[in-house]
């Protein structure tokens, strides 16, 4: 197809032709085009369908405020829904499809909704679809859901990568139009660190869309030169294709840079987009203004667009929207479009000027005091109907109509701290109000300064003022000459012409009628109006329509526009890809991995790993021939109990606690006593929260007079450390205690089983006989002269030790232990076997340490010393936590040894109905004990200590199963503890 609507001039590179397709049809455009400008150049006005009525639509704008021309860009896994054709840079091979239509854009079955529009008024769905009740999910909603939505996701993983970054500056200038460029120049020349960001791929803002001159040269040329000077400054960073999405607290701005969206695919290694977190000492909003339409009957026809956009297409993109066009305006800026188009040789049939006063344009049919009252041409504008000042109506054939109702300063970012913009009567629009983000000011059109010269001047002044705050002196350079026309506008929101529909929010199909209905039903508060009619809730967030809506509501209620007020402006300024907000934290990189010292060895053995927080731990190590995990785990457990087993326990938190008050400090943070612990000994400690619930547990060893090593659970390593710092800095600041984590400094292995000592004795240099190194002994030893630590503690109930070496030697140590362990048939066991043995021994772990349990619940009530003050001691004495019939930790065995238990099953008395009144508690942890040859479990049972020996049922209603069980002591294995002392 030829570019029949391409006209002369423009900022496109005619030396290169780009091929692209829209709905499968091939077209051509040039570098510098957007998808929308290229389609218009090819005579394509119809680009989308509206949300509710599926009305045929063309672009309303030439920028990021676009509500109509939304397409699915790209194909396959890169399919990108709801992309605004007006900002999508054209590239060779671009593929786009229209959306929200079936079977085709030109013929859309759901356009039937438009015929039925009288039924589908604002909020009609709140009043019907209620009978019968079950029909909502079954019938009505599925139909509505299928019809709803705009574009679609590919349902495949996004193949592109996204990045994040952090930038710091003295001044961030948001928008590279005349005000922004002038501000950046002033700040840059003063040596300040400046970031100049603009969502466009070309600096200059409106200057690229106008024929105006700045400093005697075409505005676009001046802008290019200013940008060139700025890019030459080392202290200035120009960021194009970069949208500042929001102003957050204390000068933090979010910005999305579209690094590769203008390319077919991102270059190797490059992200598609980058989310920048910008720390700015000062900020200047120079984001310009957005034109608004005037509502009239059928004002949504393809070919009807904002007058400024029509000018942009002509001046910047060298495109005429139609062969013959007209302009409908209530302000002088609209007239500028007429003269520019005419100068470009476009046939301007008429200028319909809602204002009766003012001069007439020379050489153009300029109708004063006239309105456009209707437009015809379903798939593309064919004619408009004009109502002349006298009331006479006339239908004029045109294929394009530019509408200007005035310009709204882009106050969004200045309002992101919930500041309410204030009404400016002179320009009939809202400008930034008080209470915006501290350190942010506005300049140019964003501040309501609408002339080019005003923008240049205010940009420079605002930059100087901002730098002044920072003590940076900037000198006022000369402001180049430019037009300085005052704003001439007579408010006009909609044309009242009887019954037809006049669109305010074209995407959501909100019309003047809907506003009137909302008023009739007393949804008159601006928030109620928005929520009831969905005005401003479309992908453009009402950038063009909101002010119309509230102005019309103001007219209905008799309130002024400022009294009516605006809804809240929220980030992001324009929609942001989820991928950009996530950055690199996806898939396996969602969170970093933490690998244990034995990881490499375990990998070689074909170990199965399990995520424990960010750690990967060995879950079990299958041997050849083992087809089910239970075989491996049973073997690991039995071999350990029979001879000796080795397990990497490095992940347990280790905290080095030193200082002359270290012992007293431990007495405060543990509910039991540690100051009395002898050097060279360790003790099990129980840590409570201040509310008396159990926080964490572990063994702590006294390595010297003023030196302790605490171990925490893997899960709580970080929170316990934080808590200890809190206690020492905030609660007891005079205590002489120093803390440092050594979790990763030491590789630590548990060596457990009857032959544990014999194995270790082969490895360590010192005598570790029971006499020399008794139960609960702890101390420094050596392995071949290498410093190491040995703790005689047991989690399994076996004779057991934990041995630690500096982490770099951990790999060698496990290999050594395995090697030396051959004669004992030593096994290495994983977290599953660890769990089996701790349950057999009745030790509490994660499932019991659930933050909802007291020491009493765990059968450890006696550990809470009342003789000293410790965190949680007092509140653990509250009556509700000392109910004699409260939960107690018990052991559970199936009466039939072949029966299975399930953790999470609840206790019920024999014959009791499965209702909450009969709920006895639940099974916290379940394992299969190869030692006992049956499933066993721990559980919290009401008055459990009084029910030992009782038979009950363990019921799992989720699976419809239940098992008769015997309540037993939680210490299934060697309750007297002879083995671990052996």
């Amino acid at each position: 197809m030829t570019q029949q609507n391409r006209i002369s001039g423009g900022q496109i590179d005619r030396s290169r032709t780009l091929r692209f397709t829209f709905d499968g049809v091939a077209y051509a455009g040039h570098p510098g085009d957007t998808l929308a400008s290229a389609l218009l150049a090819n005579g394509v006005r119809l680009m989308g369908r509206s949300f509710k009525y599926h009305r045929p639509r063309g672009p309303l704008s030439a920028g990021s405020e676009e509500p109509n021309a939304l397409v699915e860009l790209r194909a396959g896994a890169r399919q990108e829904p709801n992309t605004r054709a007006t900002v999508a840079e054209l590239f060779d091979g671009l593929e786009a499809r229209s959306q929200n239509r079936w079977p085709s854009l030109a013929f859309d079955a759901l356009a039937i909704n438009d015929r039925l529009n009288t039924f589908f008024t604002a909020g009609f769905y709140y009043k019907t679809f209620m009978w019968p009740a079950s029909f909502w999910e079954k019938v009505y909603e599925p139909i509505i859901r299928r019809a709803a939505g705009l574009g679609s996701l590919s349902r495949q993983e996004d193949p592109d990568s996204y990045d994040k970054g952090f930038l710091h500056c003295d001044l961030i200038v948001i928008g590279a139009g005349p005000a922004g460029l002038m501000a950046a120049l002033a700040a840059g020349r003063a040596g300040a660190r400046v970031i100049l960001a603009d969502e466009d791929f070309r600096p200059g803002g409106r200057l690229n869309a106008e024929t105006l001159t700045v400093g005697g040269k075409p505005g676009a040329e001046w802008a290019a030169e200013a940008a060139a000077e700025l890019s030459a400054m080392p202290n200035v960073r120009i960021m194009l294709r970069t949208t500042v999405i929001g102003a957050f607290d204390h000068g933090i701005y979010g910005a999305v840079e579209r690094v590769s969206d203008h390319l077919p695919v991102p270059p190797e290694g490059k992200p598609r987009q980058t989310l920048w977190r910008i720390y700015a000492r000062r900020a200047l909003l120079a984001g310009g203004a957005t034109e608004r339409p005037i509502a009239f009957e059928n004002n949504d026809r393809p070919g009807i667009m904002l007058a400024g956009a029509m000018r942009t297409y002509a001046n910047r993109y060298a495109v005429r929207v139609g062969e013959s066009c007209a302009i409908f305006t209530n302000n002088d800026d609209g007239l500028r479009t007429a003269t520019d188009l005419q100068a470009k040789g476009v046939d301007v049939v008429a200028v319909i000027d809602a204002r009766s006063e003012g001069a007439l344009l020379p050489g153009i049919r300029h109708l004063k005091g006239a309105d456009v009252i209707d437009a015809d041409g379903r798939l593309g504008l064919r004619s408009i109907t004009i109502r002349h000042a006298g009331g006479r109506t006339e239908t004029v054939p045109v294929t394009a109509l530019g509408v200007s109702g005035g310009w709204n300063p882009n106050v969004n970012i200045a309002s992101h701290h919930r500041a309410r913009p204030v009404w400016n009567e002179g320009i009939q629009a809202f400008v930034p109000g008080e209470g915006g983000p501290p350190g942010l000011s506005a300049a140019g059109a964003a501040a309501g300064v609408m002339s080019t010269h005003g923008a240049l001047t205010s940009g420079q002044q605002a930059a100087m003022a901002a730098l002044g705050d920072l003590g940076i002196r900037a000198s006022a350079g000369t402001v180049p000459d430019a037009e300085d026309a005052p704003v001439s506008i007579t408010p006009k929101w909609y044309v009242n012409s009887g019954k037809g529909r006049a669109w305010i929010d074209p995407q959501n199909d909100v019309t003047v009628k809907d506003i009137k209905l909302a008023h009739k039903e007393n949804f008159t508060s601006v928030e109620h109006m928005k929520r009831y009619t969905t005005l401003g809730m479309a992908t453009d967030q009402g950038k063009t329509g909101n002010v119309l809506g509230l102005a019309i509501m103001a007219g209905l209620t008799g309130q002024t526009i400022p009294e009516t007020g605006t809804t809240v402006y929220r980030p992001p300024y324009t929609p942001v890809a989820m991928g950009a907000l996530a950055g690199r934290s996806r898939g396996k990189e969602f969170k970093p991995f933490r690998l244990t010292p034995s990881h490499k060895w375990a990998e070689e053995q074909g170990a199965v790993f399990v995520e424990v927080g960010m750690w990967l731990r060995t879950q079990w190590l299958p041997k050849p021939g083992e087809t089910h995990w239970r075989q491996s785990v049973d073997r690991e457990v039995l071999a350990t109990r029979k001879s000796v087993g080795i397990c990497d326990v490095t992940t347990l938190g280790k905290i080095d606690i030193q200082g002359t008050d270290a012992g007293a400090f431990l007495d405060r943070v543990y509910c039991n006593t540690f100051s009395t612990l002898a050097v060279g000994r360790c003790r099990y400690g129980l840590m409570l929260r201040e509310d008396g619930m159990v926080f964490d547990d572990g063994t702590t060893a006294r390595m010297g007079e003023n030196e302790y090593v605490m171990t925490t659970t893997t899960a709580n390593a970080v929170t316990v450390f934080r808590h200890l710092e809190y206690c020492r800095q905030v609660l007891w600041p005079e205590m002489d205690v120093q803390l440092i984590s050594t979790t990763e400094a030491w590789a630590q292995f548990s060596v457990a089983g009857p032959n544990a000592r014999r194995l270790l004795q082969k490895v360590v240099d010192q005598d570790i006989s029971d006499a020399a190194f008794p139960y609960m002994a702890a101390g420094s030893i050596t392995i071949g002269g290498l410093r190491a630590r040995l703790f005689r503690i047991s989690f399994s109930g076996e004779l057991a030790y934990e041995i630690a070496v500096p982490t770099r030697y951990g790999d060698a140590l496990i290999r050594r232990l395995v090697e030396e362990g051959r004669e004992f048939d030593a096994v290495v066991y994983g977290t599953e076997a660890l769990g089996v043995m701790r349950v057999e021994k009745g030790h509490v772990a994660g499932n019991e340490l659930n933050g909802q349990s007291t020491a009493l619940n765990m059968g450890l009530g006696k550990m809470v010393s009342k003789k000293k003050d410790s965190i949680g001691m007092v509140l653990s004495q509250r009556e509700g936590m000392n109910d004699p019939d409260g939960y107690r930790l018990v052991g559970v065995k199936p009466v039939d040894p072949t029966a299975t238990l399930t953790a999470g099953s609840h206790f019920l008395e024999i014959g009791a109905a499965p209702v909450i009144a009969n709920d006895g508690g639940w099974l916290t942890s379940k394992v299969h004990s190869p030692h006992l040859g049956c499933d066993i479990a721990l559980g919290y049972l009401k008055a459990g200590d009084q029910k030992i020996g009782r038979r009950m049922r363990a019921v799992n209603l989720l699976a419809g199963t239940e098992t008769e069980v015997e309540i037993v002591s939680p210490h299934f294995f060697d309750p007297e503890g002879e083995r671990l002392r052996g």
């Binding site: 990045d163 970054g165 952090f166 930038l167 710091h168 290694g269 490059k270 992200p271 980058t274 977190r277 720390y279 690199r584 934290s585 990189e589 970093p592 991995f593 933490r594 690998l595 244990t596 990881h599 490499k600 960010m614 750690w615 080095d656 030193q658 200082g659 002359t660 008050d661 003023n706 030196e707 005079e734 205590m735 002489d736 120093q738 440092i740 984590s741 050594t742 979790t743 990763e744 400094a745 590789a747 082969k762 490895v763 360590v764 240099d765 392995i783 071949g784 002269g785 290498l786 410093r787 070496v805 500096p806 982490t807 770099r808 030697y809 951990g810 790999d811 060698a812 140590l813 050594r816």
Partner: protein
């Protein structure tokens, strides 16, 4: 006495890893011993004196200071990380304790961390994508804790083209991955 155990780097090799991605050189360091040194309450004077005698620098907050045999960087009020050559000071804790004789708490930290030294003509483009540190405005000898792709690290800026990173040893692979991917995105 049993055979000595052989050591493995944080990345799981016998020898430290070095790689270059365009202008960025990343080298794992395996030859530095590290210990924390924290002043016991009220012993500031004793610690300062002992440190001075031993030629051990105790730099100001957020600073690194080189020395021989000991270098150090500040990590918390009254606390520093002390560096020394691993070859001569493998048991750095044993080496430091007598110097401070109970005036400071000393704890070995060598293997709690993986160390990467980074070099490039200018590391700003790399670090503005990794960390919120204002790298460009940081002075040489700046030392701080920072977060890189969810990983808490210590960053020491020796110059705009020379940085030392200490990251948690268990996350060495993830940290290196983050450095590599970012360096590649700059090519």
């Amino acid at each position: 006495m049993a055979e000595p155990l052989h050591a493995l780097t944080a990345l799981g090799h016998a020898a430290p890893k070095s790689l270059a991605i365009g202008p960025v050189a990343i080298s794992e360091r395996f030859d530095v011993a590290l210990a924390s040194l924290a002043i016991r309450n009220g012993r500031d004077g004793d610690v300062a004196a002992a440190a001075g005698k031993a030629g051990l620098p105790l730099p100001d907050p957020a600073r690194f200071q080189a020395g021989t045999p000991f270098s150090a960087f500040w990590v918390a009020p009254g606390m520093w990380f002390v560096e020394a050559a691993f070859e001569t000071h493998e048991d750095i804790e044993a080496a430091l304790k007598p110097i401070f004789a109970g005036a400071a708490s000393i704890t070995e930290q060598t293997d709690a961390w993986v160390r990467f030294d980074l070099g490039a003509p200018d590391l700003q483009p790399l670090f503005e994508r990794l960390s919120n540190v204002d790298f460009a405005r940081s002075p040489d000898g700046f030392a701080t804790r920072t977060v890189i792709e969810h990983i808490g690290c210590y960053l020491i800026r020796h110059g705009k083209g020379a940085v030392t990173l200490y990251g948690p040893r268990s996350s060495a692979a993830s940290l290196l991955h983050a450095l590599e991917v970012t360096a590649r995105s700059l090519l």
